[in-house]
């Protein structure tokens, strides 16, 4: 009997599918299963006890979880939007520059090479209330204060957001800048002649053209939203007193410190759904924006 050959494209994709299945899919299935058990690392036998949706019910009724969840969504929304706006602003500024554009672009890429954990340490150092750069500078300028940047709940959240935005704005700036370079000049000039003020040209011509690039940046960013975990883990560890607790730090504490793997995996699934939501949302927006300016394939 002649064996039906697999199509070439499938053979080419096969290694990717295998490795992802082995390293990501299988553990995920396992964690899905364990999220329906009271699994504790310290008592392996608990893995075989089925408790249904108990873990999910538990986290869904847990105020601490909801606080962390809400904070995470809020944090992401604010951070992503600010990164986008700042990136857009920076890209427009660099685009206007007539000298040393390459140098500026290179500087822009600087934060992209930093490991998130390094960014965490860096800002933990800079925002240190005793020897940090910020407080030292404030004191040397005559303000006799030692602001508790990482201890006060609000200031700590600000510091974390600052670190996150410092790290990720570059991605937006670089990609939007690439969009600006790729933009045909003619329509902009036509708009000028058609009577647009600079703001109107930006609003009606530049921005629609940049939208796909903005969404690419958003998509790339949303693939990796959870790397904020590294920063938070280092800067505050979710503290003080859970005031900077995000979904990811809560999960890691529940899993590794309290050893309650089943519960942690249930939280993990919520965080996975959240990431997937962000990614799919921006992918959709990306295709829509592409179609809008006639770039679709």
């Amino acid at each position: 009997m002649p064996r039906r050959r697999l199509p070439e494209w499938f053979l080419l994709l096969l290694p990717a599918i295998i490795v992802i299945a082995a390293v990501v899919l299988i553990p995920l299935i396992f964690s899905l299963y364990s999220s329906f058990t009271p699994y504790k690392l310290t008592r392996p036998s608990t893995l075989w006890k089925w408790i249904g949706t108990y873990n999910y019910e538990k986290i869904l009724t847990d105020a601490k979880f909801w606080a962390a969840f809400g904070r995470t969504v809020l944090f992401l929304t604010i951070a992503l939007n600010l990164e986008m706006l700042l990136g857009l602003g920076i890209a427009l500024m660099v685009n206007k520059v007539t000298w040393g554009q390459r140098t500026l672009r290179t500087i822009l890429m600087f934060p992209m090479m930093f490991s998130p954990i390094l960014v965490g340490f860096q800002f933990k150092f800079i925002f240190n209330d005793n020897i940090g750069l910020v407080n030292n500078a404030l004191q040397s300028m005559g303000f006799n204060v030692a602001l508790p940047w990482l201890v006060d709940g609000k200031l700590a959240m600000f510091s974390i957001a600052f670190a996150e935005i410092w790290m990720s704005t570059s991605v937006f700036a670089i990609l939007i800048l690439a969009g600006l370079f790729a933009m045909p000049r003619d329509p902009l000039e036509a708009a000028k002649v058609d009577g647009c003020t600079p703001w109107q040209s930006f609003r009606h011509i530049t921005l629609p053209f940049l939208m796909p690039f903005i969404y690419i940046a958003m998509t790339i960013r949303s693939l990796d939203v959870a790397r904020a975990y590294d920063i938070v883990q280092i800067m505050t560890g979710g503290g003080p007193a859970r005031r900077t607790e995000l979904l990811w730090t809560l999960m890691s504490r529940t899993g590794y410190v309290d050893a309650r793997m089943g519960l942690a995996n249930a939280m993990g699934y919520v965080s996975i759904l959240l990431s997937i939501f962000f990614t799919v949302y921006f992918f959709r927006k990306l295709s829509a924006a592409r179609a809008e300016i006639g770039m679709g394939s």
Partner: protein, 287 residues
Amino acid sequence: MDRNQTHRNRRRALKVLHFSALFLTMAVICIPGLWIVLNSFRPTVEIMAKPPVWTPSFTLDHYRAMFGGAGEGGVPVFSYFRNSLIVSVVSTFIAILIGMSGGYAFARYRFKGKSGYFVGLMLFRAVPGVALSLPLFIVFAKVGIIDTHLGLILVYVAMNVPFTIWLTDGFFRQIPKELHEAAEIDGCTRWQAFWKVEFPVAKSGVASAAIFAFLTSWNEFALASQLTRSVGSKTMPVGLLDFTAEFTINWGGMCALAVLMIIPALILTFLVQKHLIAGLTFGGVKG
């Protein structure tokens, strides 16, 4: 004449504003990194000094201690560096091979549910490292590859494949189809046509995809911190934690290790920055 004058003035004001804003932005981007570099060369006493010392003195103490071996609170930097290098290089190499094959499939073949496959693969990249580390920790412990290079390499390959596919897909699509058709008419098999014609043309793009994968592995922390335990497998991002004790942090030493971490990343990124941007945008924009 009046209106001409107002427009001229406004333009001048905008120029000044533009320049100052740009300067401020660049300062905010550069200062944190420079601060780290600067402090890696300052003696601990000076870092801790109150009131702050603004005229830095220069010392190589932290580097000496760091490379001085495990004694005197030194951190086994060489081992960490070696681990990082092995894990990153090997995982990048494998991820590129696998990702390139996948990217080629997306760029050159038409098949049903293509965009579905694509988004599906990307979604696996979106799984947060922490969330993945929990089950991986258990699975790897069972299989016995926890705390080994192999385990970490496997994870990083899986992590880097989706994004490599995204990038290489874009690069291959930039190459006209006629190129491999011409090569096949000239007598190449499809396999030869790829390696002799399409790959060399896409080489710079593939190189930048490799840099991206390398940086991801080089900088990754969430998974590495759970899957490695000993000096034999800990990578540098995990090693940074060695400088923190219960209540104190050896800032100077940490800054020195940070500098060591950044330098390779810095060099690699600058080498390929142009292709990197081209790849990201092209893959994304031309659906």
